[in-house]
Amino acid sequence: MVDYLVDILHIFFIFVVLVMLTYAIRHFIFTFNRLYCRQKFYYQDIIDSDLPKVTVLIPMHNEEQVATGVLDALLACDYPADRLEIKPVNDHSEDKTKEILEAYHIKHPNVVPLHREKDDQTRGKPAALNDAMAEATGDIIIVFDADYLPGKGLIKVLATAFADPEVGAVMGRVTPVNTKVNLMTRLLDLERSGGYQVDQQARYNLDLLPQYGGTVGGYRKALLLSTGGFNTKILAEDTELTYRFMTNGWKIAYANGAECYEEAPEDWGVRARQVNRWARGHNEVMFHYMFKLLRSRKITFSQKLDGFMLLTIYMMPVILILGIVDSLLLFFLGRMDIMTGWWIILFVGAYNTFGNFAPFFQIGTAVVLDGSKDRAKLLPYLSLNFYFYMWYISKGFVEAIVDIITRRNAEWKKTERYRKENVGEKL
């Protein structure tokens, strides 16, 4: 009996090691491609006089600290005013968000806020976006979170991608604006570099699956509405859109040059909730789309493989925890023999998960590509994230399973803001 158990534990241990190695190889290929191969350009050199009508949606819940920043930045954009509608969505705010939006609406007619105030309305970003899309006049929807500060040409750059009739959605690059606040914001800056500068661009280069990230990105309104709008029961509406479009044969374009500043979490508690929500939402998408992805005939084998690995990535910390439990059992059963050599590889997984699934060499390469020198010295500090992410992502995985089984509605919790702005003055 014990021998059978030990065999099973050994097999699982080898499985974990192989999974971790597979992900390490995947990221090595991405990193190599990004650094040493010719890059696939985005559509930024296209000059189109016939720009599409764009509606910018900005979901807001108690955003008085940051609302003016994003609206001012959007109003300063060089996109033709007659083709641009700015629609902030006030989702049951209890602070001065509504007053701020109304003040902007009076001064700027193309700022058309939507106020969601009824008690019986479903709350959260997917529901808010669905309601806003019903009123939006643009053919293209571009979404920004309220803490973002888009540059002057960003809307034009993002909208240009839709000149390609095969493109269903587009994604820009996210860069933290509050990098210098503390160690955590600096580490998040490194993560973002690894994720966008290397991971997303390499996936775009290789015709795989760049991910629509729910902000600094856009999509065709008609396409999303024809497939039923956002699923309000899923927290990761961005990942859901990516897989919905992809399995139906639409392309996701990635604009590495379309950088936009965001406010990164400055507190571990806030980061924990954010990562937990991402993991929960991502795994919900995994349960919904795994078979659709594998059965889809509209994508290539390599896209399926990349889609599969991306879909299961938020399961990796769970597999790692199980791997550690497995190792503990082997330890107390006196069967560490297999681990003397292989135990080390289990921790390759550790560095796969550092930086929210960007291994250290990927982040290091992103730092080189970004042209920054001293940021690299912070790489060892990413180890702080390992157990932290492993715990909160695994917690999100368990919550996703409960969501699926009980069919409960997951409650959307927005990320706290830190910016200090004088709201009274703005009003």
Partner: protein, 258 residues
Amino acid sequence: MKEKILKKTIDYSRAYRYMNMNKANVVMVALFTILILAIYITYYKEISYAFAAGAIAVLKPVFPDASLHLASTLFTQGYYLYYVDTVGAFPSLLFSWGNIVFTLLFLLFVRFIMKTGALSVFLSYISLIHLVSCIFFIFWPEYFPYTAATFSEIYIKQQATLSCFVVIIMGFAVLLPPLHFIQSFLALGSLAVYSMIFGFVRYITFLFILYKFSVLYMCVLFFVLGPFIDFLYLVGIYSLAVCKAAGNLKVQREIWQW
């Protein structure tokens, strides 16, 4: 806010730049990695002897009465390694209970007093591992499968593979940034040397704890201070190499391709 974002100089776009690989550098790095591995494989028996003899030399004055002997073990076919044959302190029931109470109190402190953060999660992980160990020693002490000697033997075997793996991983990692091959050699060489020194210091520390305190801590030593820490110095050395590479590129701008 916007004023803070404005830059004094606008550099060439970083969005789509890449570089041509220096193939000669890659070959040199690969050869150097293989050379270090060859040295390890050829001389690891002698290295393990140095580890074991050194550990005895360090620990003997501290524990004059301790039984510390040099022993050898079969690693793979025909390949023997040396280790320290020693004894460890077996925990009493009271000691195990004391540890369990302290660990539970510590867990409560972490859960309710400490702020959510990376440190609190890491401390919880250590506490949980130790809690499992304490429970095992309270209910099934007679089934604990290791002595300090077997742990010492496993450590030496693990260190042998670990030393090779960190060099292989670093070999792949330094292939990527545009380093001069001498800089890559320095990164790989310093990693190999650091790995040896760190492995030796850790070996002595583990044997000291097992002898002086208890084998109750064996589990936590293995799972917390094992390869995870080795990856930490690997990334530390890699980060310095990347820093150097980024510095090189500040002056060699012609490397970039668009």
